[in-house]
């Protein structure tokens, strides 16, 4: 299990909010000046980011108070991260390689990761699921699924 104090994250997010404040003011400096009686492009983001900075400062300062701190716990953290990476790879390669090829691989990997069943059953489940999604979405609902190298 992966665990750390929420107040560390609070402190980090507080700092991030203040950095956002600086960044918005720096970038919006180059926004064109408004014509008369017009809201300039920079005004609204600046108002918002000022409020955000106040809130961030509050969160960051509060994080020093030791009393108000729980722990952020992620069980099976390595699997969650692995799932994230697998998902990212699946999502980014999908257009190039195609739904029909990549989806069974993705589902099998994920089911193996979560110890769903024996490898053979995992593969069969993945193939059946992919087929079902293909029929429902592509054939019945005519949703465009990424075709990739196979062309269907």
């Amino acid at each position: 299990m992966f665990s750390f104090k929420i107040r560390w994250l609070d402190f980090f997010i507080g700092i991030l909010g203040i950095a956002l404040f600086a960044a918005v003011f720096i970038f919006s400096a180059s926004f064109p000046a408004p014509h008369q009686a017009q809201l300039g492009a920079a005004v609204f983001p600046r108002i918002v980011v000022i409020l955000l900075a106040v809130e961030s400062l509050y969160i960051a300062l509060k994080s020093f108070k030791k009393t108000a701190s729980g722990s952020l716990e992620i069980q099976n953290a390595s699997k969650v991260v692995l799932a994230f990476i697998t998902l990212l790879a699946y999502g980014l390669l999908l257009k190039k390689i195609g739904f029909v090829i990549l989806t069974p691989i993705f589902i099998t990997l994920l089911l193996m990761m979560m110890k769903f069943s024996r490898t053979l059953i995992n593969i069969i489940t993945a193939l059946v699921t992919t087929g079902a999604i293909y029929v429902v979405f592509k054939l019945l609902l005519s949703v465009p699924l990424p075709e990739g190298i196979l062309g269907f």
Partner: protein
């Protein structure tokens, strides 16, 4: 207006939207019954596939999933002691003890009848009240819309959950993100860093799918080795006439509570359910028996939460202000269908809106039929392996976010939003305020821009219009009541156990 409603019913049947409604309610019950899957998530996953559909058809589908999902949560609350959606949290209190007494069938019948009747009352109020509110809302000019948006945003503290400061942070972050892209007044591209993908802003839908679907699936991976709870056995489904008349007054009262709670932006179905339960317990003769398995304790929250579904649609359709997560997601869907939510919807698209009203009314009849005759089937659905469902959600999230623009950028946004949402929720950074900010930010900014133009830069316009004063009063009331609420909460921290962060 009645004639519009009749046309709506006619259109519901003629256009085949009733089929969409049936599918929606059915899917909604399944999604709602499965613990961890919420109505909000169902709608978020569905939206990309409604692109290009007839608006009435697509909206009927969404209405069905919303209503069915909130009802479906009670099935797992009764049979598994796990609320399928946060809205069914109060149903566990008496539903599960009833099931343990061997009366699971009776509990299911009560929840079905209460959900359908409560929802029906809510739908009727929606149908007759919404057009009246829209008539007033037509009078709103840009200054009123600015204040309305600020009022909606001030409600963030209600949806914030455990920590109000973190909720406000998330809301402001949402507004800031909404300023990415072309400025609505001057047309200048802001914070795009030369990325063409960002010119129209970070599109809402991939973010939605990430936050409400992918994040949930990451949680599924995290908890993959937790055993599924054992299920109570279903006995005869039904209840006697005497029992029906015992719960009827509670159903009616809870329906009004639920509709009202739903109509106030910032509150959600779970709050409606707990308030209804509390009121039933207070006013009931056998109040002390609540919690041991009394039918009133199932009827009240189930009537309240389904009425709330309809109440929540009142501000969404009439003002374009989402009250909570599910209607916020629906609002995103509405815009995608090319409909601008707000009072003009009633003038420009009466046919669509009255078909939707006909849908909300009919959805409750479908809940009654499906609930009473399909309960055993839905109980079987609860035995589906959670691991497979987790995987399926990932795949649907990815192809959904692809389906919109066929672009890998959107998919990365979905995956990253999902992962970040999963982590942030664990640290009490609630996700619904972010969504509220994303949706209300542009509304406030664009109208602020228009206000400045019509008033020639004179900000006193916000204090010279009578309707503005109404909003100032509402905003002031919300802020003050929230400050006092958070003061109270900090004195007794354990009281804040339930919150709207997942609704």
């Amino acid at each position: 207006m009645i004639s519009y409603l009749f046309t709506g019913f006619g259109n519901l049947i003629q256009s085949g939207s009733i089929l969409a409604l049936f599918i929606g309610v059915f899917l909604g019950i399944v999604i709602g019954a499965l613990p961890g899957l919420t109505a909000t998530m169902g709608i978020a996953l569905l939206i990309p596939f409604t692109y290009g559909m007839d608006p009435a058809f697509a909206l009927s589908l969404m209405v069905g999933i919303f209503a069915g999902g909130i009802y479906g949560g009670s099935i797992s609350a009764i049979l598994l002691r796990t609320p399928g959606t946060p809205a069914a949290g109060a149903t566990v209190l008496d539903g599960y003890p009833l099931a343990q007494k061997g009366q699971a069938g009776k509990a299911l019948a009560v929840s079905t009848i209460a959900s359908a009747l409560g929802g029906l009352i809510g739908a009727l109020i929606l149908t007759f009240l919404a057009p009246q509110i829209a008539k007033i809302a037509v009078l709103f000019g840009p200054p009123e819309y600015v204040l309305l948006g600020v009022y909606g945003l001030s409600m963030i503290s209600y949806v914030a959950g455990k920590s109000m400061s973190k909720g406000i942070f998330m809301g402001l972050l949402g507004i800031l993100i909404s300023t990415i892209g072309i400025d609505p007044i001057s047309g200048f591209p802001r914070f795009t860093f030369g990325q063409l993908n960002l010119l129209n802003g970070l599109s809402l839908l991939p973010v939605l799918i990430g936050l409400f679907a992918a994040a949930q699936a990451f949680e599924g991976v995290e908890k993959f080795n937790e055993p599924q709870s054992p299920q109570a056995k279903i006995t005869r489904i039904g209840l006697s006439g005497k029992e029906f008349f015992r719960i009827l007054p509670h159903i009616v009262k809870s329906a009004f509570i639920g509709t009202f709670v739903g109509a106030v932006p910032g509150t959600g179905t779970d709050i409606a359910a707990f308030l209804s339960y509390g009121e039933a317990k207070r006013s009931s003769k056998n109040g002390s028996e609540f919690g041991t398995g009394v039918i009133e304790g199932v009827a009240a929250p189930e009537s309240g939460n389904n009425a709330c579904v309809n109440g929540a649609m009142i501000p969404m359709f009439t003002l374009g202000i989402p009250g909570e997560a599910a209607t916020a997601v629906m609002l995103g869907g509405l815009m995608l269908l090319g409909l601008q939510p707000g009072p003009l919807l009633f003038r420009d698209n009466p046919q669509v809106i009255y078909t939707v009203f006909a849908s909300t009314i009919t959805s409750n009849i479908l809940i009654l039929v499906l609930g009473l005759f399909g309960a055993r089937f839905f109980a079987k659905v609860l035995q589906l392996p959670a691991k497979l469902i987790t995987t399926l959600i990932f795949v649907l999230a990815i192809i959904g976010s692809y389906a919109m623009r066929n672009n890998a950028f959107d998919v990365s946004v979905t995956i990253i939003a999902g992962f970040v949402g999963f982590i942030l929720a664990k640290a009490d950074y609630p996700v619904p305020p972010l969504l509220l900010g994303l949706i209300l930010g542009p509304l406030v900014e664009a109208n602020l821009g228009r206000t400045v133009i019509i008033s020639e830069g004179n900000y006193s316009i916000f204090f010279t219009r009578p309707l503005c004063w109404l909003f100032w009063a509402l905003i002031l009331y919300t802020v003050i009541s929230n400050i006092s609420k958070s003061r109270k909460a900090s004195k007794q921290p354990s009281q804040e156990a339930h919150n709207g962060s997942k609704a």
